[in-house]
């Protein structure tokens, strides 16, 4: 029998105290990790979506900023148009290095001519594109041919079919992009030529034709020349072309960022309250338990236990429980967030991306340290008092 085994025996003896500390640690660590993963996952997802677009400025028709942001983040298709001449006008600006137009399309809902209902389809111009094309060159070693497509992470060819049917035309899925946790994971990327082919064919092959207004585009992605501030260039674009809105990269998805920041603030507040309450509860329970055991502690002192070993054995008991509860809470929380990530995205209406393994391990380590620190703070006063109490007095009380 050593002091560690003695602590374990005491844990199994006092079920109420043990369960209270275990559950407090379980709740705090589980809640903190789940919230941290959600908030961090949403932030990371927004950053990745920004990177995926790879543009300094996104130009969209006036009044459609929110719609386009929601489409890009949540994958709900949108139908916005502006004249194609906008591209030429912007390209003339000396601060603009490159500009590439995009078409935002959508498949039909519950129609036999489309394999996937209401899918967000993004058509890009291979001549000017600087976001998808580099990826294609790296993976495929060539540009997309007509009738070929690249999908987000969750886009797949329906089993038994030769391709994905869009308005009656099959497109071949040539690969999937890395996950971003946003609507881009559910989007299909095709070239302008393929989009116009589909639109032409749809008049005879689909229940409803795909409409792409003449000389129109949905959005334009811009890269500014080195040394120019995207914010200034955006303002200049809006001054020269009043019918468009130019969103510079830091401002992109701003409403979502604000929403996440708001959520993060609430989460930290709730967590702080829960932490303080748990510290108070554990302190109370431990004080009661130590008082009930004062004679037992006095006996241990009489048998030769030092003050120091009494103090550390009480601390060890609490920390063993906190470690068990904390690990269980963290494991269950990580598992739940991982398994229910799709449900989280659809119910919270927020993008979400799981952290990498090293990030997760780091967060878990921080979580367990916070729980151990909180429990140690809680039991410090009763453990100190118990170790300092004079044994003879403890026996008389």
């Amino acid at each position: 029998m050593n002091l560690f085994q003695l602590a374990l025996r005491n844990i199994s003896r006092n079920a109420f105290r043990s369960w209270t500390i275990f559950l407090c640690a379980f709740y705090i660590s589980g809640f903190a990790l789940a919230m941290m993963l959600i908030v961090h996952g949403a932030e990371q997802s927004l950053d990745l979506a920004n990177q995926r677009l790879g543009a300094d400025i996104l130009v969209v028709p006036n009044g459609s900023e929110q719609k386009v942001e929601t489409s890009l983040l949540m994958g709900n298709p949108t139908n916005v148009w502006m004249p194609r001449e906008v591209v030429e006008k912007i390209a003339r600006l000396p601060e603009v290095e490159s500009i590439s137009p995009q078409l935002y399309l959508a498949t039909l809902t519950n129609a036999a001519c489309c394999s996937v209902s209401n899918m967000f389809v993004i058509a890009f111009d291979p001549q000017t594109d600087f976001t998808i094309t580099p990826w294609l060159e790296q993976r495929l070693g060539r540009a997309l041919n007509p009738g070929e497509a690249i999908g987000g992470m969750y886009v797949f060819t329906p089993p038994g079919e030769e391709g994905i049917k869009i308005y009656g035309t099959f497109v071949r899925l040539m690969g999937n992009l890395e996950p971003t946790g946003t609507g881009l994971d559910r989007a299909l990327f095709i070239s302008f030529d393929t989009a116009y082919d589909i639109a032409r064919n749809s008049r005879t092959r689909a229940v409803e034709p795909l409409q792409i207004p003449d000389n129109s585009i949905s959005a334009a992605l811009i890269r500014v020349r080195r040394g120019n501030a995207a914010q200034i260039v955006s303002m200049k674009i809006e001054q020269q072309i009043p019918e468009v809105t130019a969103i510079d990269s830091p401002e992109l998805f701003l409403s979502y960022r604000n929403q996440i920041n708001g959520l993060a603030e609430i989460v930290w507040m709730v967590l702080a309250i829960a932490l303080v309450l748990s510290i108070a509860i554990v302190d109370l329970i431990f004080t009661m338990a130590v008082n009930a055991r004062r004679r037992e502690i006095a006996v241990l002192r009489a048998l030769g236990s030092t003050r120091r070993s009494i103090f550390f054995s009480l601390l060890a008991e609490a920390n063993l429980l906190a470690f068990g509860g904390g690990m269980a809470g963290l494991a269950l929380s990580a598992l739940a967030v991982y398994l229910f990530r799709n449900l989280l995205v659809s119910s919270l209406q927020m993008p979400f991306l799981l952290p990498s393994l090293p990030e997760l391990v780091f967060v878990l380590a921080i979580g367990i340290l916070v729980v151990l620190a909180a429990v140690s703070i809680s039991v410090l006063p009763p453990a100190l008092a118990a170790s300092r109490r004079e044994p003879a007095l403890a026996m008389r009380e």
Binding site: R9, S12, L303, G304, T306, P391, M395
Partner: protein
């Protein structure tokens, strides 16, 4: 001299209450191998005297020496080691740890002193349980033992580290007459066999016959002693 108390005064001063002078300028010497019975009315200071000898309470003034070492000039670590190695304690109240078996309770003092390895400690604890007649109860938890059996285990535990001094505080006050005699005979037997010095607080004068000498206490002082 194994234990010496010189002009010891102990005043308890609980908050919001009048101070109590539990020991009032007491001096006592206990030579090695003695079996002393301390007798006195309730509140005479018997338990406090025993606690002072074990270093479980600090004297308000005076000195408590064990083998010439002043207990209160030692640090907590040294004092605890001395208690662990030299003093065995038998309490008035049930003092076995409920989460440990009889054998583990007996071996407990070794946890703090680490004089014996785990297996050796178990063998020694088993021998002590055999000595107190509880070999068949080695794996029983305290709740499954009678009050007399529990007190026998406590006696065995007090002897675990082969102490020089055995302090017993009304060790038989909660037991029936027959069990009381059995425990007292056990103390006599231990004293005869091991030569350990025993200082025992007793609640009745007829128990004095088991000791080699007795001390009568009243108001924190020694009234008489043979």
């Amino acid at each position: 001299m194994l234990i010496s108390l010189k002009d010891v005064v102990k005043i308890y001063a609980p908050a919001k209450e009048q101070p109590v002078r539990a020991i009032n300028g007491l001096s006592l010497e206990v030579p090695r191998g003695d079996f002393v019975a301390i007798l006195g009315r309730s509140g005479a200071g018997k338990t406090t005297l025993l606690n002072l000898m074990a270093g479980l309470t600090r004297p308000t003034s005076g000195e408590v020496l064990v083998e010439s070492a002043n207990l209160w000039s030692l640090g907590d670590r040294e004092q605890s080691r001395l208690r662990n190695r030299k003093i065995g304690f038998v309490f008035q109240f049930p003092s076995l740890l409920p989460s440990l078996t009889a054998l583990e309770n007996v071996a407990l003092p070794n946890t703090f002193g680490k004089r014996l390895a785990g297996d050796e400690a178990r063998v020694r604890a088993g021998q002590l349980l055999e000595m107190v007649g509880l070999t068949d109860k080695r794996n029983a938890f305290p709740r499954h033992l009678s009050a007399g059996q529990q007190q026998r285990v406590v006696v065995a535990r007090a002897l675990m580290n082969q102490p020089d001094i055995l302090l017993a505080d009304e060790a038989t006050s909660n037991l029936d007459e027959q069990t009381e005699q059995e425990i007292m005979t056990l103390f006599q037997q231990i004293h005869a066999e091991t030569g350990v010095t025993i200082v025992m607080v007793v609640h009745s004068s007829y128990l004095v016959r088991y000791a080699t000498r007795s001390i009568q206490m009243a108001n924190g002082k020694i009234l008489s002693g043979d």
